[in-house]
């Protein structure tokens, strides 16, 4: 079976019903998507499938055949493509904002936080706080860094608006 991840095509060996997360972690050796619950309850394993946030722990690998998968590692490139930039930045604006805010503690949930926030900003460039909270509500942070994440998403939104004006 062939899958397209971060703009590269991979031939994968596992059974078709294998959850995508295990393929990404073991065969592609990616460290963005992380195991959290295996139940689609926490958002640790999120990826974008054709630009839509999905839980890779419950998505069979066969379900993404012929689709475009973007992981945390591929977000800068995905951003460059959607915004028609000449080159991929070092980080997606959401990543840059998370770093500027020094938002993470353990950082384990930030894969999902960043992927979900990138999806949100691709659909709604200037979300207000209520919209951010609603969009992100399916992602858990055990360290309790929600307030910093909300600020970082707002900052990323401003960063993207500034870049767009350039």
């Amino acid at each position: 079976m062939q899958i397209k991840v971060n703009d590269k095509t991979w031939t994968v060996a596992g059974a078709p019903e294998t959850p995508l997360l295990y393929v990404l972690s073991n065969e592609l050796q990616l460290q963005g998507p992380r195991f959290g619950c295996g139940l689609a309850q926490c958002g640790s394993c999120s990826v974008l499938v054709d630009g839509v946030e999905k839980r890779s722990c419950v998505t069979p690998v066969s379900a993404v055949e012929g689709k475009t998968v973007t992981t945390l590692e591929g977000l800068p490139m995905w951003y460059a493509m959607t915004k028609r930039l000449a080159r991929a930045p070092e980080m997606h604006p959401v990543q840059q904002a998370m770093l500027d805010e020094q938002a993470p503690q353990c950082g384990y949930c930030y894969n999902g936080m960043i992927v979900k926030a990138a999806e949100l900003l691709s659909k709604n460039a200037r979300p207000d706080e209520r919209q951010i909270r609603t969009a992100m509500n399916g992602h858990l942070c055990r360290c309790g860094t929600y307030p910093s994440i909300i600020r970082a998403v707002q900052r990323a939104s401003e960063l993207m608006a500034t870049e767009a004006r350039r």
Partner: protein, 739 residues
């Protein structure tokens, strides 16, 4: 030793490490080639200066997401006169890093900071001595900046040129003078954390990412949800027929410890899920609904924690006496990524990689279980997700070690969500009973606290299931209280007559327990600070003012004032709380508390919907005095996390169990606070540049728990006796008041 332990393949980090290489290399005893702990009395154990004029600092504390790795390097860089780009630390490893005790009780900076600073000062003094000879200039005429020593305007030499990658071979005497706080250049600054960029980009290697060559994937097989500690779970029968079609799966068993291994991870996952096991039924637990009754009814030896004055004489004479009962649930660490470990156990040696908070303690236990000498077991720390105390990291390490020893191959064990949620070392349940008394002038005159709880389990589930006898964890004095906390239970105030009594319950036939961030303190503060608030209410004195009048010392007053100021506290004009109409009522509360050190104060604003029972925490203000704060930005972040986690624990978190076992095994059955209900949080660091650094990782949670309970009372006029404040519990409490 060859640098073979890190091999880059295909973008992911694979650790190809052979213990045989290490043992063969002992003729040239390089760092990491022999079992530790390295000699703490040698400067070389603590740091090395490299030819490129950088330093490696060997730190015995784990980065758990709390920023310790950055803050300890700030201390080292400051004392060595290096900048932050010139210092790094290494992975915790029983062959490499010193034994500074475990990373708990908020000890990294409090205990580890002075050790790192003193070692750095001694190395700096030695380097100055070398530079003095090389530059032919007396030490007092030398200047250092960024590891470059200069004499006058022409002569210079770098640390790297003086000693680059050679050993100091000097004893660590602790005698070198350290810098004065007024000379600190990096300590006290909000330096950005060194570990965050990799975590954000997805290049950080968490324990869950570690793979080794020739490795099998393993999963444990247990009942969903632990059973009573000491009773365990006994296998009646195993039927392997459902997994016969899964390629290469092996079922491995030691007594009642059961696991599966497979070449492919998904095969291990579905084999563990599909294997049919019948477990013996038990009913040794009281169930979460009856647990407080059983605890309170158990006859226990009374252990007096503190006794002063004469409460028996003081209570009858007092103008006002109040009492408060508190029931606090078992709560879970529930790390966001379940624990994971990789073990390679061979004949005579073992390498175990895991997320332990204490590599040396984990090594000792593993050596015993594997019947190996401690020096033949090597434990390496890999950061997992935040652990907040003794989650399942040791259990996962033991499971991986058992499966590797039995499979004859390296094995990676990833706990599934139900393994972690269901088999945790929970923060224990608590029953508290407080009496407090004040005179007519508003002075607290007597206080009594009785606390019922059991201690921590000493045997992990893997070991217990494999046949180890269960025991109680015997805490070193520095490890934290397992009983009534003298600081949080009345220690905030000057009280002439006071008695704190511990009712220690047996560890068996309850749930497996361990230290959970700010152990028991939320429960203590919930009980104690509601009683203090009750005194203020009967005296019709503003609760902030009442605390100020009775405050124990300046440090407590400092955090009380800082929290009140941040919240813009206005003296309460509502002398009859809760006597208001309307569906949604609001309230504000204040509280003080801490863990074993430092001082915490908090204010909470809550909204209570009297029709639905829903409680919303709108704002939390926290203030902490932890002495000299090395990195205020990191401590503020820690405090915000503590405030949010406390909101979660007070509103949502409760481990539920029936008489057989735990039933809360995922994020649906054990909900935590989410984005939509997250309060706005404000953290105030009370910086004390000339005071000793103390812990900051858990010391504002007790105060926040108290403030939330007192805000609920302010809103409703009802004193909650049990948390979390779930809707049915709140509705019942409100209905009971209406009577």
């Amino acid at each position: 030793m060859k640098r073979r332990d890190f091999v880059k393949t295909g973008g992911a980090l694979v650790i190809g490490f052979s213990l045989r290489d290490v043992l063969a290399a002992q003729t040239a005893p390089a760092r990491g080639s022999v079992a530790g702990p390295p000699d703490a009395r040698q400067i070389d154990t603590w740091l090395a200066i490299h030819a490129d004029n950088t330093a490696t600092v060997y730190v015995g504390f784990a980065e758990l997401g709390q920023g310790t790795s950055t803050a300890l390097l700030q201390i080292a860089a400051d004392e060595l006169d290096l900048d932050m780009r010139q210092v790094k630390s290494v992975r915790l490893d029983t062959h490499v890093t010193p034994n500074q005790g475990g990373t708990y009780s908020s000890a990294s900076i409090a205990r580890g900071g002075p050790q790192v600073r003193t070692a750095a000062a001694e190395a700096r003094l030695a380097l100055l001595g070398m530079a003095s000879k090389r530059l032919d200039t007396p030490i007092d005429q030398l200047r250092i900046s960024k590891g470059v020593v200069t004499a006058g305007s022409t002569k210079r030499v770098t640390y790297g040129e003086l000693i680059g990658d050679r050993r100091f071979d000097l004893p660590f005497t602790g005698s070198a003078p350290v810098k004065k706080p007024s000379d600190y250049a990096i300590v006290g600054m909000p330096i950005k954390r060194l570990d965050l960029a990799a975590k954000i980009k997805g290049t950080h290697t968490y324990m869950q990412h570690v793979r080794v060559p020739g490795m099998l994937h393993g999963r444990i097989v247990r009942p969903r949800g632990q059973r009573a500690y000491g009773v365990g779970a006994k296998i009646v029968s195993i039927d392997e027929s459902p997994i016969r079609g899964i390629p290469g799966v092996r079922v491995l068993r030691r007594g009642d410890f059961l696991g599966v291994v497979a070449e492919n991870e998904w095969d291990a996952v579905r084999a563990a899920r599909q294997l049919k096991v019948v477990w013996e039924s038990t009913s040794a637990l009281p169930g979460s609904d009856k647990v407080y009754e059983r605890m309170r009814a158990t006859t226990t030896p009374e252990e007096i924690v503190v006794q002063r004055g004469d409460i028996a004489a003081a209570f009858p004479k007092a103008a006002h006496v109040v009492s408060q009962v508190a029931h606090a649930p078992y709560q879970a660490h529930a790390p966001f990524g379940p624990n994971c470990a990789v073990a390679d156990v061979k004949a005579g040696t073992a390498l175990v990689m895991c997320s332990t908070q204490d590599v040396y303690a984990t090594r000792r236990t593993l050596a015993g279980l594997l019947k190996l000498a401690e020096k033949d077991v090597r434990v390496q720390y890999y950061e997992g997700s935040g652990t907040y105390g003794h989650s399942c990291y040791d259990d996962a390490a033991q499971a991986a070690a058992f499966l590797s020893q039995d499979a004859g191959r390296p094995v990676r064990v990833q706990f599934m969500r139900a393994d972690e949620h269901g088999w945790d070392n929970y923060g224990p349940a608590h029953v508290g009973e407080v009496r407090a008394a004040a005179d007519a002038n508003g002075t607290i005159v007597a206080y009594e606290y009785h606390g019922w709880q059991h201690g921590w389990s000493g045997t992990e589930a893997s070991a217990q299931l494999a046949g180890s006898p269960v025991g109680e964890f015997i805490a070193a004095p520095a490890m934290g209280v397992q009983g009534v906390n003298r600081l949080t239970c009345g220690g905030q105030y000057q009280i002439p007559n006071l008695k704190l009594v511990n009712h220690k319950l047996p560890v068996t036939e309850y749930l497996k327990a361990g230290w959970l961030r700010s152990p028991l303190d939320l429960s203590f503060a919930f009980a104690s600070e509601q009683a203090i608030d009750q005194l203020a209410a009967v005296l019709k004195i503003d609760p902030y003012e009442f605390r100020r009048r009775n405050i124990a010392d300046e440090r407590w007053r400092g955090v009380l004032d800082a929290a009140a100021k941040a919240a813009n506290w206005a003296p309460s004009t509502r002398l009859q709380p809760g006597v208001r109409g309307g569906r949604v009522v609001t309230g504000r509360g204040i509280g003080l508390g801490t863990h074993l050190q430092s001082w915490g104060g908090a204010v909470a604003d809550v909204e209570v919907n009297r029709d639905t029972g829903e409680v919303a925490i709108k704002r939390l203000f926290g203030a902490m005095d932890a002495g000299l704060v090395v990195n205020p930005a990191i401590v503020e972040s820690q405090m915000r996390g503590q405030l949010v986690q406390t909101a979660s624990r007070m509103l949502h978190e409760e481990v539920k169990f029936d008489t057989t076992g735990v039933t809360t095994v995922d994020w649906v059955s054990y909900p935590i606070l989410r984005f939509e209900a997250c309060p706005a949080v404000t953290a105030v660091v009370v910086q004390q540049i000339n005071e000793r650094s103390l812990g900051a990782g858990e010391e504002v949670m007790a105060a926040a728990a108290a403030a939330i309970a007192n805000a609920f009372f302010d809103a409703t006029g009802v004193r909650m006796e049990t948390f979390p404040f779930t809707k049915p519990r709140v509705l019942a409490a409100l209905a009971a008041r209406r009577g």
